[in-house]
């Protein structure tokens, strides 16, 4: 197409047209920048992480191949590993289990105790990746004696220092260093149990791995260069599955980690995308105010011979230029925020990440930002097509409003809106790993924005009613101002409301989980549990506790077992955390028996139902013996029954240390897992397990912190294999993890809040002229500055209140849904946290509003005479 003179001059015209309002327009476009920044930051960071995972995958696994099981490797797996060794592979062993660690030596009495994660490392392990220590390079000394390298958190907990002695079971170790970085470990993991590395040749000396102890036995394999670990793992997967052995290659590790990171990125990106759309509504609104001011200028242009399409193209060019400017700002901000993200998310990421400029996220952020900016601007811009040259002579206010009202009957504007919707769906599909997920994401976005939009409108309506009450003139005027034309009330409320919604939901979920936890602590009679108590230790421990006047609240037997066979009428559900549609290993994944089948069960037996349980089907047994066929009765937890696809009447055969026990399900239970009591998936009739090898859990309550510490230490001194769980420590650990998670979510919510602030600032800038005129007029009529400030205060406080009420109403819904469906615990509104979110939102709005409008009340009344 030949570019004619008429069109060639358009860019210059467009540029000149923005001359007086350029700063204000850039301000309105900056609301897009925040969304772009969020997307660029999240995408760049996840690209950084995926790249790091790829580079570090071998170190993350520590080997070419890892074979692990919940017990010592069964002979066929052992034989297979031996055959690998014969072909030149090297192997090293890692045994991981929980145990009590005691500061100081056994003889010295010790200082403190703490439940830790012990990793007994064979020589050579890990083959790849460097475990960094402080002081540095102590890792290679680990194997040269009875040494331990520990998390620094443990030293604090035990009040110990490097060089001190650490007791694990019956063995003593010298602490030679603390851990600085372990490839593949995530930061928050140590909150639950500090890590302790010891050489595995001293494992036996601890005497900790006795009957019933839970441990993971892992063999790390280093293969000769010619052997393909991934192919080996795949070809033997069926064998491993049947043996209840887990085999992972480097590629498996990389795949699963990359998938998790991509999911995290997708979730956080969703928040960014929403922030972008919120900014877009701000742009549309600012452009509408801008175009209303431009009506005269447009009419003049039309009089001077400009065609309607020239005028439209001029403004489209302006919008594109500004969108580009906004998106560019966003990219710069995003690249900056990418450097902050490691501090926010780092404790969930198992690799060291070196941020670098990721071109694809940056450029796609730029393109998306510009595109969204133009599309949102298109609505108001297309509205000016209808401005007639005659308007120069006769300015009719109604026609401009009429044009705005009929937007939905104007085909080009409807098309623009549809293109916008289609673009968002396309972006979602591109970001998700499938069209269906993408459509769900779009539906989620539409739902979240739609709900906030409706809540905003309803709240604004209610606020308008307020104005009819008998307030003082100042307050009433402030209230009516919220509804001022061109005030962009809806986009401001939308963005603020969405921010309040995210923060409110977060506060509610966090508050509920913590409340649940502490109420569990208060409601449960016990706050200290001893587990792995051997049969011969039960009585002495019992007397130890009683000698301290501590109650033994219960003593529950535990018998480890696996499922040997079962018959159900329904096919089992796919296992947790495994997806059938896994690319690459599709066939193998689908055939894998579910987690419920492979896992080790720790079951108990008793003759009555526990207070934390509720019978939901069938009947509890009344007899204490097998039926005539030698089949015992069991009661199964309902979610497990669902997973296995079993119901009352089905039979399961258990393998209890090689002994087969046949059972029939006679009841299903609902279990309140959050209670601090031993709960079980499967409970047996006592006669079935009474003679089986078993350990005990004993519960007691010690209210005073110091005596609780003392009684734990004394028990560990006498029974080193017995571990204790201190409920207050769990509360602290969960609190810590929740803090980290909420930091990440709060960081993303910030993008939405900042967008709200920017939309507010640009809205105030857009209506500045009108505001100045009015405040000056009021001053002329006798209003003092404090009165003007009070009017503005009322207006912004109300705006903030509408946003926060809308957000909080939705947050209560969102919080309830999350707590009810995801965490499956009872929900309660935590008014204090919501009040905090609401007041923060209102405060921010008022502060932003008064700051952005500061020149409105400083203008002198003389302007009233001069203007016009």
């Amino acid at each position: 197409m030949r570019v004619t003179g008429r069109w060639r001059t358009l860019p210059a015209l467009a540029w000149r047209d923005t001359r007086t309002t350029r700063r204000r327009l850039v301000l309105s476009m900056s609301s897009i920048a925040i969304g772009v920044a969020a997307l660029v930051a999240v995408d760049s960071y996840s690209a950084d992480v995926v790249r790091s995972i790829h580079v570090q995958a071998r170190s993350l696994l520590g080997a070419d191949l890892s074979v692990s099981a919940r017990r010592t490797l069964p002979p066929p797996a052992r034989a297979w590993l031996d055959s690998l060794r014969a072909r030149g592979a090297a192997e090293a062993h890692v045994t991981t289990f929980s145990s009590m660690a005691l500061g100081g030596s056994l003889a010295g009495g010790g200082k403190g105790t703490r439940l830790v994660q012990v990793r007994a490392m064979g020589p050579g392990a890990p083959f790849y990746g460097k475990i960094e220590t402080s002081p540095p390079d102590k890792w290679k000394e680990l194997q040269s004696g009875p040494y331990a390298i520990v998390d620094s958190a443990l030293l604090i907990a035990l009040d110990a220092k490097i060089g001190d002695t650490l007791s694990l079971g019956y063995a003593r170790f010298a602490i030679i260093a603390t851990l600085r970085n372990v490839p593949g470990d995530i930061g928050v993991a140590s909150a639950l149990g500090p890590r302790v590395y010891i050489p595995d040749k001293y494992l036996a000396a601890t005497q900790l791995l006795t009957y019933g102890s839970r441990a993971e036995y892992e063999t790390l394999v280093r293969l000769p260069a010619a052997m393909d670990a991934d192919a080996l793992a795949k070809s033997h997967r069926q064998l491993f599955d049947s043996l209840q052995v887990r085999a992972r290659s480097v590629a498996d590790t990389e795949r699963s980690l990359t998938r998790s990171i991509e999911q995290l990125g997708r979730f956080l990106g969703l928040v960014g995308l929403i922030a972008l759309l919120l900014g877009g509504t701000g742009v549309a609104s600012a452009l509408r105010a801008y175009m209303a001011e431009k009506i005269d200028a447009i009419a003049v242009l039309r009089c001077l011979g400009a065609s309607a399409s020239q005028v439209v193209w001029m403004f489209v060019l302006e919008a594109a230029g500004l969108g580009l400017a906004g998106a560019l700002m966003g990219v710069v901000l995003g690249v900056g925020a990418q450097l902050v993200l490691p501090h926010v998310l780092g404790s969930f990421i198992p690799v060291d990440v070196s941020p670098q400029l990721e071109w694809i996220p940056a450029l796609s952020g730029l393109a998306l930002g510009t595109w969204v900016g133009v599309l949102f601007a298109l609505g108001p811009v297309l509205g000016v097509r209808n401005i007639a040259p005659l308007q120069v002579l006769r300015r009719d206010d109604d026609s401009a409003q009429g044009a705005a009202r009929s937007a939905w009957r104007d085909p080009p504007r409807v098309i623009a809106a549809l293109v916008l919707a289609a673009s968002v769906v396309a972006v979602c599909i591109a970001r998700a790993d499938g069209a269906i997920v993408g459509l769900w994401m779009s539906a989620g976005i539409a739902g979240a924005l739609g709900a906030t939009w409706v809540a905003a409108i309803v709240c604004a309506r209610l606020a308008k009613r307020l104005a009819q009450l008998r307030w003082s003139f100042i307050v009433r005027h402030g209230i009516t101002n919220v509804d001022r034309p061109g005030n962009q009330t809806r986009p401001v409320v939308l963005a603020l409301g969405f921010g309040a919604f995210l923060l409110g939901t977060l506060a509610l979920v966090q508050g509920n989980l913590l409340r649940q936890l502490s109420s569990a602590a208060n409601a449960s009679a016990a706050n200290l549990a001893y587990f792995d108590v051997q049969t011969d230790q039960a009585r002495p421990l019992d007397s130890l506790l009683r000698s301290r006047d501590l109650p033994v609240l219960s003593q529950v037997p535990i018998v480890p077992m696996r499922i040997a066979a079962y018959r159900s009428r329904k096919p089992p559900l796919p296992a947790r955390g495994e997806r059938r549609s896994d690319s690459g290993a599709r066939g193998a994944e689908a055939n894998r028996p579910s987690w419920a089948l492979r896992r080790e069960y720790r079951s108990s037996y008793r003759d009555s139902i526990a207070p934390s349980e509720k019978l939901v089907a069938g009947k509890w047994w009344t007899s204490d013996g097998p039926d005539t066929d030698g089949v015992y009765e069991i009661s199964v937890e309902q979610s497990l029954a669902e997973e296995l696809g079993v119901a009352v009447g089905d039979t399961i055969t258990w393998d209890v240390q090689g002994v087969r026990i046949r059972t029939r399900i006679t009841s299903l239970r609902e279990v309140e897992w959050t209670r601090f009591e031993p709960n079980f998936f499967v409970v047996f009739q006592p006669a079935a397990l009474r003679e089986a090898p078993q350990t005990y859990v004993m519960l007691t309550r010690v209210d005073d912190d110091a005596s609780r510490a003392r009684v734990q230490r004394d028990a560990v001194l006498r029974f080193p294999n017995v571990s204790t769980i201190d409920l207050t420590l769990i509360e602290n650990a969960v609190g810590k993890i929740l803090d980290r998670v909420s930091l990440a979510v709060r960081f993303m919510a910030l993008f939405s809040v900042v967008t709200g602030v920017l939309v507010l600032i640009s809205a105030i800038a857009a209506s500045r002229r009108q505001r100045v005129r009015e405040s000056v007029l009021l001053k002329t009529l006798g209003a003092t500055r404090p009165q003007i400030v009070r009017m503005l205060f009322t207006e912004y406080a109300l705006l903030g209140a509408i946003g926060s009420v809308a957000g909080i109403v939705l947050a209560v819904g969102g919080g309830w849904a999350a707590v009810h469906f995801i965490f499956k615990t009872p929900f309660a509104v935590t008014p204090l946290s919501l009040a905090a979110v609401a007041s923060a939102t209102i405060l921010l709005t008022v502060a932003t509003g008064l700051f952005a409008a500061r020149d409105v009340f400083s203008e002198t009344p003389m302007t009233a005479l001069r203007e016009v």
Partner: protein
């Protein structure tokens, strides 16, 4: 009584100073009807702004009922305006988000006056808009809007009413009616009315004319009754 004493107003413009008013002095007694006339740029609006306390003079002083406006703070001047001064503007200057009645009430509302409703309703009736009280400004014609503005100007029973080109945006017939309304209110409430205009016909109706040119008073004449 309104006294102007050697009023001078100058503005910096670039690196020069432009003097808009020079040594303007006069006294306007209670109940007078004065027109300030002069060509565009002669300093009429600046003078009006100074007399009403919307702006402060570079030199000289304005005394309203013996109070020097320049000595008051901006907020005190605002309160003074709310009590003693009324305004009518060429472009009406109604607040678009308020109804006719609400617009009229504003000065009393700002003072927290309880009688605002009755007084505003009464004044709207007197300017002939009893049936337009709940209309928003956009729904009113230019003449109607100016009548609302006049009702607003009188609602606080001002000592002085300033009108800046009150007929400038109106057709001839409507303009005449507005002037007649101002005259009537001037008579009934004995309010001092000061009109700035370059409409000769309007000026001719005033009993006293102060003519400005280039910032100087070149004529101050009283028409024979």
């Amino acid at each position: 009584m309104l006294v102007a004493r050697e009023l001078t107003k100058s503005f910096p413009s670039g690196d020069r100073t432009i003097t808009v008013l020079r040594d303007v002095s006069f006294t306007i007694g209670d109940g007078e009807f004065v027109a300030i006339v002069g060509p565009s740029g002669s300093g009429k609006t600046t003078l009006l702004g100074l007399l009403a306390g919307l702006d402060t003079p570079s030199a000289g002083s304005v005394l309203l009922d013996d109070v020097d406006l320049a000595r008051l703070s901006e907020d005190a001047r605002a309160r003074m305006r709310g009590e003693k001064v009324g305004f009518v503007f060429q472009s009406f200057q109604l607040i678009p988000t308020l109804t006719a009645l609400e617009n009229v009430r504003v000065p009393l509302d700002l003072r927290g006056d309880d009688g605002a409703l009755a007084r505003a309703t009464d004044l709207l009736a007197r300017v002939g808009l009893a049936n337009r009280t709940h209309h928003y400004p956009v729904r009113l014609s230019g003449g109607e809007q100016q009548r609302v503005a006049i009702a607003r100007a009188f609602v606080n029973s001002p000592r002085v009413l300033f009108a800046d080109e009150p007929t400038g945006n109106l057709d001839h017939t409507t303009g005449i009616r507005i002037v007649e309304l101002l005259e009537q209110l001037n008579r009934d409430a004995s309010t001092t009315v000061i009109i700035v205009t370059h409409d000769a016909e309007l000026a001719a109706r005033a009993r006293r004319v102060i003519r400005l040119n280039d910032g100087l008073v070149i004529e101050d004449s009283v028409r024979a009754a």
